[in-house]
């Protein structure tokens, strides 16, 4: 277990010995891994391998039964997604990310609304939020969708772009993505991937769960493989091939040694 990524000095997040059981079901077993800073890292594995559980533990939705997590060199244990977000870790889900009936600006500011006037009344400062939203989204998106439009009138790709840019705009350092393009077409997937690249260009770190190995090889610089709750290994994307990753996912004997 001396993977390059785990011992890399520049890891933004490190996990050691994570265990998580759901009753008699072992979801994660002694998982240790690390995410190199400033990279787009893939997290792959078959259904039930524990990918979503791991992401939920990092993002504070679940707490592990044992193990420790270090974020930016400090030991952390987030009790809720709000705590993780305050610490700089944001999650983008395949769905459930936006309120469809609210405008783009309202979704970007959801839970962080700007108010004006007497403090007790919490009157919304819509003008300021609309103006800021435009700036915030332009940082990551070339074609910003209409700020004042309801999210339900946007395409699936535009919605996901807004959700990802929102995570980046709020100063997150690590963005977790669970199948962000699973429901999207080719062109929309490309638009979402461009935003993910833009996050990296601006120094953010991305951990992306994907079933699409083409996508993993297109956008990541490293990939972690989980199998039946165990971290099987880490590969630098440039030094591996899809065939090897598939073998690691399915459990056939690995050919190459560790990097």
């Amino acid at each position: 277990m001396t993977d390059a990524a785990e011992s890399a000095p520049e890891a933004i997040l490190r996990a050691r010995g994570i265990n998580k059981n759901f009753g008699a079901v072992v979801a994660l077993e002694n998982v240790s891994f690390a995410i190199p800073k400033g990279e787009i890292i893939g997290l792959v594995g078959d259904n039930g391998a524990g990918k979503s559980t791991l992401v939920k533990i990092i993002s504070g939705v679940l707490t592990p039964d044992s193990g420790m997590i270090e974020f930016e060199g400090k030991q952390v244990m987030f009790a809720s997604p709000a705590e993780a977000r305050a610490g700089g870790i944001e999650t983008v889900y395949q769905d459930l990310a936006l309120a469809p009936n609210l405008a783009v600006w309202a979704n970007v500011y959801l839970g962080r609304e700007l108010t004006r006037g007497p403090k007790m009344m919490h009157v919304l400062d819509k003008r300021a939020m609309v103006a800021n939203t435009d700036k915030m989204l332009k940082r990551f998106i070339r074609n910003v969708p209409p700020i004042d439009e309801s999210v339900e009138l946007l395409s699936g790709g535009q919605r996901q772009v807004v959700a990802i840019a929102r995570a980046g705009a709020w100063g997150s350092k690590l963005i977790l993505m669970d199948e962000p393009t699973a429901a999207l077409g080719v062109a929309e997937t490309k638009a979402v991937e461009e935003v993910i690249f833009e996050l990296k260009r601006q120094g953010l770190t991305v951990l992306i769960i994907s079933h699409n190995l083409d996508q993993i090889f297109r956008i990541t610089s490293g990939v972690w493989v989980l199998r039946r709750g165990r971290a099987i290994g880490y590969r630098e994307t440039a030094r591996t091939r899809p065939e090897e990753i598939v073998l690691m996912i399915t459990g056939a004997p690995t050919i190459a040694g560790t990097g």
């Binding site: 709000a82 839970g111 609304e113 009157v123 919304l124």
Partner: protein
């Protein structure tokens, strides 16, 4: 060809957004044109007087429906306010008036808190929770009063229900204040914004750190608070404790909110729409009365308008006949 089509689709889009308002204006124009009595001061005052109590309940109901729920208990809660408040005023005399108001409000807020607790924290479906409290509250009122009314509320208090200021009935003025205040809360404040967010996507709202349960709780307390205000006005109109008061008001209020453009699915609707919905139903009832139609036809009309409004809304959203 193309510009004509564009103009047509713009017109249908406008009609789709403002269908209720257009229907209301046409109805009022029709009433003014076909009767000599509708436009008289006395009749308009009647319409205001008769619809203010439902209107105030509907303001609270708008919050519950935008939240993605509704509140069936508001009719019973209105009766509760009437019985608790009037009983205190009757037994304590003029000094009992403020005590009666406070007592009525307190009793109703307890019911609202029970609704909110059941729905927000126990996850009980709003239909089940508020159907339950509606039945329990009405039953307790009957037990406590033996289902018979009591009279003798101090005369001074009838000012609230029957008095006028600048020629406008006091209940209508109270309705105006409630509607403006709650319209401001719903459309301009962070709390109102959260009601829309939770109504649109509760899971996303929770993920973004909103205290979803607290928002739900507050909305059901608010709905009961509005019913309490209506019940207190009712004391001022009847000068009595009336156990049978406000039967079925919850359904009329829900109908008014839906006719006003807020679908039951939640996340949508405007306070102004609710007010138009209240008066649309109110003017139809008034019109039937003026034309000498039996009052038994009134629920028939309300039901048909409700169905027509929802059908028209679905029709205009699908973009007319062609793409249905």
């Amino acid at each position: 060809m193309a510009p004509a089509k564009g103009r047509w689709s713009k017109a249908t889009a406008f009609a789709g957004r403002n269908g209720v308002l257009i229907a209301f204006v046409l109805l009022v124009a029709f009433m003014v044109g076909t009767t000599s009595t509708f436009g008289t001061y006395q009749n308009l005052i009647n319409v205001l007087q008769q619809n203010s109590i439902i209107g105030i309940i509907a303001c609270g109901m708008t919050f519950a429906i935008v939240l993605g729920g509704f509140d069936l208990s508001v009719g019973s809660v209105t009766a509760l306010a009437s019985v608790v408040g009037a009983t205190l005023m009757i037994d304590l005399g003029t000094v009992g008036i403020p005590i009666g108001i406070v007592g009525a409000l307190a009793a109703c807020l307890i019911v609202g808190a029970a609704n909110g607790w059941l729905i927000a924290w126990l996850g009980v479906n709003p239909f089940v929770a508020t159907l339950g409290t509606m039945t329990v509250v009405r039953g307790l009122i009957y037990v406590a009063t033996n289902a018979s009314p009591r009279f003798g509320v101090p005369y001074a208090f009838t000012t609230v229900g029957l008095g006028r200021l600048f020629g406008i009935p006091n209940p209508a003025l109270i309705f105006l204040v409630v509607a403006l205040l709650l319209g401001f809360v719903l459309h301009r404040t962070r709390f109102g914004h959260y009601v829309y967010a939770v109504g649109g996507n509760p899971a996303a709202s929770a993920r973004m750190g909103l205290k979803v349960a607290r928002v739900r709780f507050a909305v059901y307390v608010l709905a009961s608070g509005c019913a309490a205000v209506s019940g207190i006005i009712l004391i001022g109109q009847t000068a009595s404790a009336t156990p049978q008061a406000a039967l079925g008001y919850e359904l009329t209020a829900i109908a008014a909110v839906i006719v006003g453009g807020a679908p039951l699915g939640g996340g949508r609707g405007r306070m102004a729409g609710t007010i138009v919905g209240v008066f649309l139903l109110g003017v139809v009832a008034n019109g039937l009365n003026l034309f000498g139609v039996s009052p038994f036809w009134q629920p028939v009309a309300t039901g048909l308008i409700l169905i027509a409004a929802v059908a028209f809304d679905g029709f205009s959203k699908r973009g007319g006949f062609s793409s249905g």
